[in-house]
């Protein structure tokens, strides 16, 4: 019974929080450009408006186009279930769930690429091929990062990894964790279509990747895909903050109050990471598409060096 309650809390927190992260990133970017910027809650208003609007579907598209928004959204939510927001509430946990999480997200991305090809528009095909390239370049570094992190507690369960991190005083002062942490930051930026790899605010046909794939969607379907993308971003941020900056050891009380405090600290950490991402976004330029292998190679090497340091260190 408690597990069901935890799962409901987890899904509710993640879905409600996901658009806020986008709002914070946009607000910080606006501040650095001396603009006032849209309100932090703008994405909620956008989603509400999109849900009210009617859906336009192309005549030539097949069933893939119609089911894709639901698959994208539900795969993101299913991945969110596997990453505990705090160690105090544990919705779903079993051996190997970290690998399952990566490939559940890949399933959503696969269907998104299919749907982009489905309508037969030029931009859809272009965006899909670019997305396939970026995701195939980034996938090895995600897996090696997660495996390296999993080596220390000898378990691929996110819950166990967080538990072993709780035991350490300062997890970031460690050769393995500092490298995988930086690798994870690069991965988040590449996975969530942020600036050095893809520009989320552009509709310029030469540069867009994620936007090109969702160009044909409208109304409720678009709202689901946008919310799915935001949830996916929050899943990665949650993975980052909870693996590398654990906080539960500082809470000494127990019960419902502890969960509330834990969620509050989690919120502060997510806001912190959102600000960091925004700063990275304003301080770099978008790379050429053919320079992305360089970034992917760097991310791979960071994670591989972390993997190597584990053996060099011998503990």
């Amino acid at each position: 019974m408690a597990n069901v309650l935890y799962a409901v809390i987890q899904i509710f927190v993640i879905i409600m929080l996901a658009p806020l992260v986008n709002g914070i990133i946009k607000k910080v970017k606006a501040f650095t450009q001396k603009r006032k910027g849209a309100p932090v809650l703008q994405m909620y208003f956008d989603l509400l408006k999109l849900i009210k609007k009617s859906v336009v579907v192309s005549d030539v598209s097949s069933w893939i186009f119609k089911v894709t928004p639901y698959i994208v959204f539900s795969s993101a939510v299913a991945a969110a279930l596997l990453v505990p927001v705090t160690t105090m509430i544990m919705p779903v946990g079993f051996a190997g769930d970290i690998i399952l999480m990566v490939y559940i997200l890949a399933l959503g991305r696969f269907f998104m690429m299919l749907a982009a090809l489905d309508t037969g528009s030029t931009f859809g095909g272009m965006g899909a091929s670019r997305e396939a390239m970026i995701s195939s370049l980034i996938e090895p570094s995600i897996l090696i990062t997660l495996f390296t992190v999993a080596l220390i507690p000898n378990s691929t369960s996110v819950y166990q990894i967080m538990g072993s991190m709780k035991a350490a005083d300062f997890p970031l002062i460690h050769p393995v964790y500092i490298l995988t942490f930086i690798a994870m930051l690069v991965i988040i930026i590449a996975e969530t279509s942020r600036i050095p790899v893809d520009d989320p605010a552009t509709h310029l046909e030469l540069t867009m990747v994620h936007e090109a794939m969702i160009l044909e969607y409208s109304g409720r379907n678009l709202a689901l895909i946008e919310l799915g993308a935001a949830v996916k971003q929050l899943v990665f941020i949650t993975l980052l903050v909870n693996i590398f900056i654990p906080h539960d050891q500082f809470i000494s009380i127990a019960g419902i109050g502890a969960v509330a405090i834990s969620l509050l600290i989690y919120l502060i950490k997510v806001i912190f990471v959102a600000v960091v991402i925004a700063i990275v976004e304003v301080s770099t330029v978008k790379l050429r598409l053919f320079s992305i292998p360089n970034i992917a190679a760097l991310a791979f090497i960071l994670s591989f060096l972390g993997f190597l340091q584990y053996f060099i260190l011998g503990r």
Binding site: F170, I173, H174, P175, I178, L179, I182, P293, N294, A296, A297, L298, I301, L302, F304, L305, L308, Q309, F311, I312, L313, G314
Partner: protein, 218 residues
């Protein structure tokens, strides 16, 4: 203390990877400055430790010399040479950047397998730091042969020197003061001469590409 030194040795190694992934000569100089600052930080931490344990303060003096020379003076000198030459970005590599980075990674693997089999220095924790710093020397060497422009090669030389210094530092808890000073003065002279040579090569051939040096008729 020991954890901090581990992390610093890894960050110094990481800065050499970032150097290898760079294309702009300005970012070479900037990354070298960051690497030297990290080395100065390592020397500072070790110096304070040695001062409190043994009462020697020569490592702290070495730390101050590193900050003055490698963080401030030599980057300034290279920036001056950089403003004189017209090549701001390195275009033609022998290999492309992902392959260069993979070769560097293989260097680290090679160092791990060759050093972990030796006795003597293989005393627990020193192992990690010596692997990282010896790979820094070899990566500096590889950086030197992978770049065609003169400033890149000077930076490679300086990275080798950084690697030698940090290897000696981490393996022996600070070399004799006079040895350090001797190495620093040698390096400073080398960089001064190389800086003048960059200027002269640029003046003579309108380029700092090393391949132009094949025809020395002027």
């Amino acid at each position: 203390m020991s954890d901090f030194l581990d992390v610093l040795s890894v960050l110094i190694l990481l800065s050499s990877f970032i150097l290898m992934a760079n294309k702009r000569i300005k970012s070479y100089i900037q990354t070298f400055r960051i690497q030297s600052a990290l080395i100065a930080l390592t020397a500072g931490i070790m110096g304070i430790d040695i001062l409190s344990k043994e009462g020697r303060f020569d490592v702290l003096i070495v730390c101050v010399i590193i900050i003055a020379m490698k963080v401030i003076y030599i980057p300034h000198l290279l920036n001056k040479a950089y403003t004189n030459v017209e090549y701001k970005i390195e275009k033609d590599f022998f290999l492309n950047i992902p392959i260069l980075i993979f070769v560097c990674c293989m260097i680290v693997v090679f160092c791990y397998f060759s050093i972990s089999n030796t006795g003597g220095i293989n005393l627990g924790i020193i192992n990690l730091r010596v692997v990282n710093s010896v790979s820094l020397i070899l990566i500096g060497l590889f950086f030197m042969i992978s770049r065609k422009k003169a400033i890149g090669q000077i930076i490679g030389f300086l990275v080798i020197e950084n690697g030698l210094f940090i290897t000696a530092m981490l393996a022996t808890q600070g070399m004799p003061f006079i040895v350090d000073i001797g190495i620093f003065i040698d390096m400073l002279t080398a960089v001064l001469i190389l800086g003048i040579m960059v200027f002269k090569i640029n003046e003579k051939f309108d380029s700092i590409d090393m391949n132009e040096l094949k025809n020395l008729r002027g």
